[in-house]
């Protein structure tokens, strides 16, 4: 059974059709990188999978269950799928520890003590143990994004969605966040990653999908996509990335 299946997913904002029929199958332990220009629909795709945006037509299945069917409890679905945003979206009025324990306590109903023990273990694992009682304002961008990843992991998700998680970071802070994602990939976490970090995608992805104007134009193993792209649009996009010195 696939971890995630998308069948003919369409999504429009007003007259602007952002997703024009997405078909995608993600197997367990796969790391899929979504690449493509800004506005190609990467973020919208992730938000639709997490049911933060309702889709117009098509189906989304998580571990075989159709989550876009009528009457499905969206909160239960979301608690099984983690998402990390470009702008971190940490809760500024809560300490790091409370940011991380809020979901487990309120959505999963864990006791405070258990949630905190698990949260501290996760923070420890990602080098954030000393920051548990700090407020997000006091952390560097890289630390904030790592906390956001820990917050998603605290829910023990079956699937993790990462939405350009390094795009808002200063260049010298990108590495620490990518290292965390590499570690997660190595530990077998199923991930769907929208990214502009091509070298990272090349090294880490099991499969790369090139999105263009709301459709997956081409997909395959990273070596093939980056070294021998078939579609002219893919070649064009990668050419621009190379010219910008990002690959």
């Amino acid at each position: 059974m696939s971890a995630l299946t998308l069948e003919g997913v369409h999504k429009s904002f007003g007259t602007n059709e952002v997703l024009r029929g997405i078909d995608l199958v993600v197997e367990e332990h796969e790391v899929i990188c979504l690449i493509g220009a800004s506005g190609s629909g990467k973020s919208t795709l992730l938000r639709c999978v997490n049911l933060l945006e309702p889709i117009d037509s098509g189906r989304i299945l998580v571990a075989g269950e159709e989550v876009t069917a009528r009457g499905v409890d969206a909160n239960r679905v979301r608690s099984r799928i983690g998402i990390v945003f470009q702008a971190f979206n940490l809760f500024p009025h809560m300490t790091v520890l409370r940011n991380v324990t809020l979901g487990p306590r309120k959505a999963l109903g864990l006791a405070r003590e258990q949630a905190e023990t698990e949260a501290r273990a996760l923070l420890e694992r990602f080098g954030l143990a000393e920051r548990a009682l700090d407020y997000p304002d006091r952390l560097s961008g890289g630390q904030q994004q790592r906390v956001a990843i820990v917050r998603a992991l605290a829910m023990k998700p079956q699937l993790l969605l990462l939405d350009e998680v390094t795009s808002a970071l200063d260049p010298e802070l990108v590495g620490e966040v990518l290292n965390v994602i590499r570690e997660l990939a190595a530990s077998g976490m199923t991930m769907l990653i929208a990214t502009h970090e091509m070298s990272f995608a090349r090294a880490t992805a099991s499969r790369v999908c090139f999105l263009d104007a709301g459709a997956i134009l081409e997909q395959g193993p990273p070596e093939q996509i980056f070294s021998a792209p078939r579609e002219p649009r893919t070649q064009q996009f990668l050419q621009r990335i190379v010219e910008a010195g990002r690959l």
């Binding site: 979301r78 608690s79 945003f85 809760f91 009025h93 979901g103 309120k106 000393e130 998603a152």
Partner: protein, 268 residues
């Protein structure tokens, strides 16, 4: 730096003294000053009137202390109702909008008249007959309308990405509001909330029109008896004695909250 700071304080002090001396001089040398002083600033009247006015002022404080917590809770409820999405909640939203528009539009004194004289006159069984009770109800209705708008502005000012982050963790809409959106919204609107509460404190004086002897009513009684206006100063002193410390307290709480968020907590 220290020396410059000291200099700035000195200049501020000097200019303040100069301005107030000038103003004081102008007032004291005005042609009518003698009459004004005996009518508005008579120490003996101030002293004689103070105990009774202070006693009456307790009613203002009581009204305020009952009304304020009710307003805080009710207004938040209405603000939340107005933020409910979807067509199902349209009637509730419409009701909340109509309420806020109506009670912000009618002069407070009219609302107090309508409730204070109107409802007891109905002579309904089991309904309180106390005019003070209905005056409090009127104040609560008027100020809840204002305060719900303040809350709503606060809720709207919290970026939608905060709600998205909370919902993405599997929190229900109500949980996202309670734990993520409202705590941030309330922190942001504390200064305008305080503004409305100072307004409420002063408007407790309107309850006197129903006959209850609160501070302003007592002032009028004393004035009518002596033809001296100094008693108004007694009341003014009492009102200010409450509002100014309250303002400073809230300023202090806000800055402490800000510091707490910015200073690293000692690791546990």
């Amino acid at each position: 730096m220290r020396r410059e700071g000291g200099r700035a304080v000195g200049v501020a002090l000097l200019s303040t003294v100069a301005v107030f001396t000038g103003l004081g001089f102008a007032v004291v040398h005005a042609p009518g000053w003698k009459i004004v002083r005996s009518q508005f600033f008579s120490w003996s009247h101030f002293r004689d009137g103070f105990p009774e006015i202070a006693h009456a002022f307790l009613l203002n404080v009581q009204i305020f202390c009952i009304a304020e917590p009710i307003i805080l809770v009710l207004a938040l409820l209405i603000a939340v109702v107005r933020s409910l999405p979807g067509p199902v909640f349209f009637p509730l939203r419409a009701l909340a909008v109509a309420y806020a528009d109506l009670f912000r539009g009618i002069p407070t004194i009219l609302v107090i008249y309508l409730f204070g004289f109107g409802v007891p006159a109905l002579q309904l069984k089991g309904v309180p007959q106390s005019q003070t009770f209905w005056a409090i109800v009127a104040l609560v209705l008027v100020y809840t309308a204002y305060v719900s708008e303040v809350y709503r502005a606060g809720i709207d000012s919290v970026h939608p990405s905060q709600d998205a982050a909370a919902r993405s963790l599997g929190l229900r809409r109500s949980q996202a509001l309670r734990y993520v959106v409202i705590p941030q919204a309330v922190r942001r609107v504390i200064p305008p909330l305080l503004n409305d509460f100072i307004g409420l404190q002063k408007d407790t004086a309107l309850v006197g029109i129903l006959g209850a002897v609160e501070a302003f009513q007592q002032v009028q009684i004393d004035q009518a008896a002596t033809f001296n206006f100094t008693y108004g100063i007694d009341a003014a002193v009492l009102f200010v004695a409450i509002t100014i410390p309250l303002t400073r307290l809230v300023d202090f709480l806000i800055s402490r909250e800000r510091r707490r968020r910015q200073v690293a907590a000692v690791a546990a």
